[in-house]
């Protein structure tokens, strides 16, 4: 959601909005995720924003991946022929109607695979939350390896398989969606 909003800003006719969107994306995308995590976990409490570590992890992951989603959506939007938006504007549709009714529905097709990569990265990047004691796959694997030092390799492999199950299921889902959309075309 945040990513689409950002993408809207980056293609909007209002220059300050465009600059803001670009500034956000370039700042966040070029910051290591770990730094974003540290920022959220240690800086937000300073301004009296206090949540559980789990919520913090969700916030950090959202901030970071919104920038990536934005870029995926924006490239999808740019992939739609400019004539489509021109025709929409010539009819008298407003900028937001033009985006909502004409451009985004056509951009969706171009966006599915790049968006998939972003979500897959999101799943894998969630492992960083382990460092902050959030209950997730890598954290569980860590605890299991500490508890069973003899079977480190087996547990690690189990962890890898766990991630693979999630990401491969996602990839399958995406291919299915893409095919469904291609059929509807």
């Amino acid at each position: 959601m945040l990513g689409t909003a950002l993408a809207t800003m980056r293609v909007s006719p209002v220059p300050p909005l465009r600059w803001l969107g670009t500034a956000y994306v370039e700042t966040v995308r070029n910051t290591p995720l770990t730094v974003v995590f540290f920022f959220v976990v240690f800086v937000l409490p300073q301004v009296d924003v206090v949540f559980s570590y789990f919520t913090f992890a969700v916030v950090a992951l959202s901030i970071y991946h919104a920038a990536l989603v934005c870029e995926a959506v924006r490239s999808g939007v740019n992939g739609v022929d400019a004539g489509q938006a021109e025709a929409a504007r010539a009819l008298g549709l407003t900028f937001s109607q033009c985006l909502r009714l004409i451009v985004l529905p056509q951009a969706v097709r171009n966006v599915i695979q790049p968006l998939g990569s972003v979500i897959s990265a999101l799943i894998r990047n969630s492992s960083i939350a382990a460092a902050f004691g959030v209950q997730e796959l890598t954290g569980v694997v860590q605890r299991l390896t500490t508890a069973n030092p003899d079977s480190v390799i087996a547990v690690l492999l189990g962890g890898v398989v766990g991630y693979l199950i999630l990401t491969l299921a996602l990839a399958g889902l995406l291919t299915l969606t893409e095919r469904r959309l291609a059929g509807a075309r």
Partner: protein, 244 residues
């Protein structure tokens, strides 16, 4: 009061000057055909009228008021000006019927039954009533362009802009589009038509504007223009295209 007036309009793309000191008025009910060699700025001129291109100098009046800046008011102005593009630009993900109803429903606030009835009437008028439920890419170029004209007409515009409407069409489809345009002109629609079709200019235009190098060199009734062009450039141009 002219419907559209361009006064001293100038525009550049970077260092490239595309329009210089353009003065042009179009009266209600008039058909003005703009012709000239490629790169003479005629397409840009057409696109400036509904502000798909902005201008650098001069001003453009629509119904005596300067074109509004980007926003709701400009959208409202555009809703009264139909535009037909060289590349049709039908909404690719919507059926022909939806292409015709989206403007009336979303911009004019019409209800679906009313918008659809009017859309079917217009499709019938341009001769593709049977294509209502097809997607644009299932139509031939000529059919798509006729659908695009119908889409513009669905807004009940007071002015129609045609930006080289037949330049992307195979020869055998050009006449079906020109026929629709000619019958539209005969109903009294105000039209600005950028085209290379000299036959259309001669038979349908009230006035022909000849452009070269970003300037309007001549504006005259078609008979005067084609039989006795004033400028050297126009004589050259006509000699070259009418030779074969």
């Amino acid at each position: 009061m002219p419907l559209v007036a361009l006064e001293g309009v100038g525009k550049s793309f970077g260092d490239n000057r595309v329009l210089t000191d353009i003065d042009l008025t179009v009266e209600s009910g008039e058909v003005v055909v703009v012709i000239g060699p490629s790169g003479s700025g005629k397409s840009t001129l057409c696109r400036c009228v509904n502000r798909l291109e902005t201008i650098d100098t001069g001003r453009i009046l629509f119904e005596d008021k300067p074109l509004p800046a980007e926003g709701r008011e400009l959208a409202r102005m555009r809703s009264r000006v139909g535009m037909v593009f060289q590349s049709f630009n039908l909404f690719a993900h919507r059926t022909v019927l939806d292409n015709l109803t989206i403007g009336p429903m979303k911009v004019l606030g019409q209800k679906r039954p009313q918008a659809e009835a009017r859309a079917r009437e217009l499709l019938d008028r341009v001769g593709i009533a049977d294509k209502a439920d097809r997607l644009p890419r299932q139509l031939s170029g000529g059919q798509q362009q006729r659908a695009a004209i119908a889409r513009a007409l669905a807004m009940d515009p007071v002015l129609m802009l045609f930006d080289e409407p037949t330049s992307a069409l195979d020869p055998e489809m050009i006449s079906e589009v020109l026929d629709v345009m000619r019958s539209l002109a005969s109903t009294g629609m105000t039209m600005i038509v950028v085209t290379h079709e000299m036959g259309f200019a001669r038979s349908a235009a009230d006035r022909v504007a000849f452009m070269a190098d970003g300037r309007i060199l001549e504006i005259s009734p078609p008979d005067t223009f084609f039989d006795a062009p004033e400028s050297e450039r126009a004589r050259d141009f006509l000699a070259r295209i009418l030779r074969h």
